[in-house]
Symmetry: D5
Subunit: 135 residues, 10 copies
C-alpha cells in the first residue's frame, strides 16, 4: 500500500538521552505553492537537532515534507512552522531548520530558524556541548 | 503594467516575532555608476537580518536594488546606505549587508556592514541565539 | 575625460596573421533591459575568436558591452547581434559568443553563437588547428 | 491573474535562422509523481537546442514543466516525452534533453535524449557547426 | 516483506525504442569481498547505456548490486561481470560500466568497461548519436 | 593469515600525554544493515579525539568498523555505540564521532556525537586548547 | 599621463564613521624581489579593515602595491610593513593583512598580520561588532 | 615479513581479453631524487591501460613505484621508463602514464606518455572502443 | 651567484625521441608591463609540447619568463613570441602556449597559440598520438 | 654544492616582535617510513605559528622535513616531534602543526598539535589577537 503525505511526525525513543548529540537531516526535495500566485516554489531544507527524550522518525519526516506539496506557504512562515511542528513532536534540546528557497525575482532566500529548550527539563551545560555542524 | 525601480522598501508583519531567526537574501544582480567616471560598476549583494516586527518584501527589494542602476555610488557609501534604508524600513534586531564589487584596477572590494538594534525594544538574549550564516 | 559607451568596436592589426590562434575574453559584467517589461537583465559573456587580419581592442570591447545597458534586448537576439558586430569589425576566421543569462522564471538561459569565415580568404587548414577552449 | 500550468509550448521566430547556434535552458525546478507509488519525484532538467525557424518562449517552458507536477511519469518516459513535445513545437535542427532524477533506492538516474532534424529541410553542414555545450 | 539480494535483473520495455538515448545510473553504494584476504572492498559504480528493446528496472538493479556483498570479487573481473550481466539482460545498443574502487596499498583503481551491440539488429547510425555523458 | 572483523579495539600509549592534541580518522568505508528491512546501509565516518593516556591503533579500528558489516544498526544508535566503545577503550579527553549516512527516502542523515572526559583526571584547561578541526 | 608607482597611500573620509563595518580588498597581483637572490617573488594579498575616520583610496592602493615591484622584501617583513603603512595612513579600528606567497623550496608561506586600535579614540564595543570575513 | 621495493612488476591473466576495457590507477604517493642536486622530488602518477592478455598486479605496482625512492630520475625520463616497464611486463593494447611533478622554480611539470600496441596482435577496431578517461 | 633573467632557452636531448609524448609546464608567475601605460600586467602561462629531438630545460624556462618583467608586451603579441621562441629553441612536434591575463577593464583575456611541426622531419602519425591535456 | 637533509632548524630575528602575527607554511612534500613494516608513508604538513623573538628560516625547514625521509616514524609521534623541535628552536607564542597522512587500511589520519607559550615571557593579551587561519 503506497504511503500518503501526512503532517503527523512519528517519533522513537532517543537511544542516548544522557548525552547531547546532534542529528542532521539533508532534505533536498521540497516544494509548496506561492500563496500569492499559486505557482510552485522549491526549496532545499536542512534540519538538525539535539534530541531530548525523542527522535524524529525518518520516513515520517519524508511524508511530513511531502504534505506541503499542495499548500500555499510563505518562505518565512513555512520555515518557522516546520520548526514549531518538530518542537511540538519531540521537544528537542536544540533545533535549527534552514529553508533554502530557489531564485525568485533574481534573488535567492535562505531562512534559518533556531530553537533552544527552556525551563526545568533543560540541562544548562548541554548547550555548551552541542556540536557545531560539520561544513 | 511593468514594474518600476523604487527606493520604497515594502514590508510585511514578521510571522514569528517571538523568535530570533534569520532571513538571508542572495542578490547577484546589482549595478550602479562610478561617481568619478560615470562608468558602470557591478556587485553581488548578500543581505541577512533577524526581523523584529517587520520583514522586507521580496519584490520591493528587487525594485529597490534596481533603483541604483543610474545612480553614482561609491562602494563604501552605497553598502552603508542600503543597510541604513533597511534599518529604517524594518528596524531589524540584527542586519548584515555585504557588497562584493567586481575587480577595478586589479583589485576586488568587499564591503560588509553590520547593524544591531539597541535600546528598550531589544532583547539582550536575542543576539546569542542569532544563527551563524550557513556557508 | 571619462569614457562613453559606444557600439564602435576598435581594432588593431593581428600580430601573428600567419598562424591560427585563439583570443578569449571573459566578460562577467553585462546588463541590458528586457524588451517586454523594461526590467534589467544580467548576463556573463564569453567571447573567443581566431583572428584573421584584425584583433578587437580590449577597451573598445568594454565600451561596446556597456552600450547595451539601456537597450531592450532579447537573449537570443542580442547574442547573435554581438557576434554579427564582431564579425563585421574584424572578420575573424572563427568566432564563438556565449551569453549566460541569469535566472528568470526559475530558468537560466545560455545562448552560444559560432561563426566561421567562408570563401576565398579562408585557409581550409585553419579550422583543424583552431584550439579547443581551455576549461 | 496568476499563470496556470499548461502543456502548450509557445514559440517565437528565430531571430537568426541562417546560422546554427545553440540555446540552452537550465531548469532546476521539476517535480512529478511516481506512477507506481504516487510519491513525488524530483529532477533537474537541462534542455539545449539549435533552433530552425522557431524558438521556445521561456515563460511557456516554465508553465510546461509545471504541468507535470501532478502527473505520474517514469524517468525514461517523461524525458523522451519532453523531447518529443519540443520537437513538435519548434522542429529544432538539434535537441538534447537531460533529466537528472534524485536518488531513489540509493541510485541516481540521468536520462539524456538527443534529436536531430532529418530530411529536406536540414542543412547537412549545420551539424558540424553545432557547438558543444559549455561545461 | 523485506527485499532480498538477487542477481536477477528485471527489465521493462523501452518507451522510445526508435531513438538512441542514454540512461545513466549513479550507484555510490557497493561492497564486495577481496578474494585473497576476505576483507571488504568498496566501490562506486556508474552505469550508462543506450537501450534497445528493454530497460533495466531500477529496484532490481539495487538488489543486483547488493548481491555482491558477500562474494569474493577482483576489481577487473567484477566490473566485466556486471557489464556482461546487463548485456545479457537487455542487449543494449551501447553500455559503459565504471567501477571506482577505494584506495588499497595507497592506490585507487578505476575499471571502465564498454560494450557495443553488433550484428543485424544494430543500426549503424546509432553510434553517432549516442550522447556523451554530462560531466 | 587474513584478518578478521573484531569489536576489540587495540590501543597504544599516547606518545605525548602532557599535551592536548587531536587525532582525526577519516573512514569512508562503512556498511551495516537496516534493522527493519535487513537491507544494507552505507555511511562515511569521521572520528577525532584528544588522547589521554592511550591512542586507538589504526588497524584495529579498521577491523572494528568492519565488524558492523552484518549487524542491524539504527543510524542514531550505532553512532553513539561507536563513541561509547572508543570512550571505553581509551578514555579520551575529548571525542567526536560523525556518521554520515547515505540518502534514504530522499533524505541524508548525519549523526554527530561528542564526549568530554569528566572528573578528577580531567584537566580543565585542556578543553580550551583542543584544536578545531581543519576544514 | 600614465600613473606611477608610489608608496603614498591616499585616503578619503569614512562615509559611515559611527558604525563599525569592514572593507576588504582582494589583491591578486603583487610581486617583489627576494633580498637574498634578487629573483622575483609573487604573492596574493588580502587586506581588510574597519575604518575609523579615513578610508584607503582604491587607486592609490594599486599604485602602493606596485611600488614593491623592484624592491627586495622578505615575506614576513613586507607583510608587516604594508600593515604599518596602512595603520599610519588611516589609523583603522582593526586591520588584517594577509600575504600568500607562492611556493619556494616546495613550501608555500602565508603571513597574516592583525592590528587593533588602542587608547582613548577606540570604542571598546567596536571589536565585538567587527564582522568576520565572508568565506 | 615486510615487503621490499622491487622493479619486478607482477601480472595476472586478463579476465576479459575479448573486450577492450580500461584499468586506471591513481598513485598519489611517489618520490625519487633529483639527479642534479640529490634532493627529493615528489609526483602524483596516473596510469591507465587497455589490457591485452595480462594485467598489472596492484601490490607489485606499489612496490615498483616504491623502488624509485632512492634513485635519481629526471621528470621526462622516469615517466617514459615507467611506461616502458609496463609495456614490457604486460604488452597492453593502449597505455597512458602521467607524472605530475610538484613545483620547482615556481613551475609545475606534467609529463604524459602514451603507447599503443602495433603489429599483428593488435585489433584495429580496439582503438575506437578505448574509453576516454573519466574526469 | 644569483641567477639573472635571460631570453636564452636552454635545452637537453629528448630521452624518448621515438615516442610522441607531452611535457606540460604550469607557470603561475609572470608579469610584464603594458606598452601603453607602463603599468604592470600579470598572467598565468601554461605551456605544453610534444618534443622532437630536444626538450626545454626547466630552470632556463624560469629565467626566460622572468626576462619579460621589465618589458612592454601586448597580450596577443607576447603569447605568440613565447611560442615562437620555444619553436626556435627546440622545434617541437607540437606546442601550445596559453597566456591567461588578469582582469583589465572588467575583462579577462586568454590567448592560446598552437604550433605543429611541418615538413620533412615530421612524422604524420605523430599528430594522432599527441595526447590531450589532463583537465 | 648540493644541500643535505638536516634536523638543524635555522632561525632569524622576528622583524615585528611587538605584534602578534601568524606565519603559516604549507608543506605538501613529506615522506617517512612505517616503523612496523619499513614501507613508505606520505603526509602533507601545515605549520603555523605566532613568532616571539625568532622566526623559522624557510630553506632549513625544507631540509628539516627532508631529514625524516629514511626514518621510521609513527603518525602521532612524528607530528608531536616536529612541534617540539620548532618550539625548541624558536619558542613561538603559539604553534600548530598538522600532519595529514595518506590512506592506510582505507582510513586517513590527521594529527593536529597545538602549543602555547607559558610563563613570564608570554603576553596574556597575545592569544586574543592570534589570527584564525584563513580557510
Ligand atoms: Ca540559494
Ligand atoms: Ca554536527
Ligand atoms: Ca570579489
Ligand atoms: Ca542563517
Ligand atoms: Ca546560468
Ligand atoms: Ca583556447
Ligand atoms: Ca543524479
Ligand atoms: Ca553551448
Ligand atoms: Ca578513486
Ligand atoms: Ca549526506
Ligand atoms: Ca599558498
Ligand atoms: Ca602540477
Ligand atoms: Ca576510463
Ligand atoms: Ca582569466
Ligand atoms: Ca587525509
Ligand atoms: Ca592566518
Amino acid at each position: 500500500m503506497p504511503s500518503q503525505p501526512s503532517k503527523d511526525l512519528q517519533t522513537f525513543p532517543n537511544p542516548a538521552p544522557d548525552r547531547d548529540y546532534e542529528i542532521a537531516f539533508d532534505v533536498p526535495e521540497f516544494t509548496c505553492l506561492c500563496p500569492l500566485t499559486g505557482q510552485p516554489d522549491f526549496a532545499k531544507f536542512k534540519i538538525r537537532y539535539v534530541p531530548d527524550q525523542l527522535c524524529v522518525e525518518l520516513k515520517s519526516l519524508k511524508l511530513y515534507m511531502w504534505a506541503y506539496r499542495n499548500e500555499g506557504a510563505f518562505h518565512e512562515k513555512v520555515t518557522n512552522t516546520i520548526a514549531d511542528d518538530i518542537v511540538r513532536a519531540i521537544q528537542p534540546r536544540k533545533l535549527t531548520v534552514e529553508g533554502d528557497f530557489f531564485v525568485r525575482g533574481g534573488i535567492g532566500t535562505l531562512v534559518t530558524v533556531t530553537h533552544e529548550k527552556k525551563g526545568k527539563g533543560a540541562k544548562p551545560a548541554a548547550k555548551k556541548n552541542a556540536p557545531a555542524r560539520r561544513k
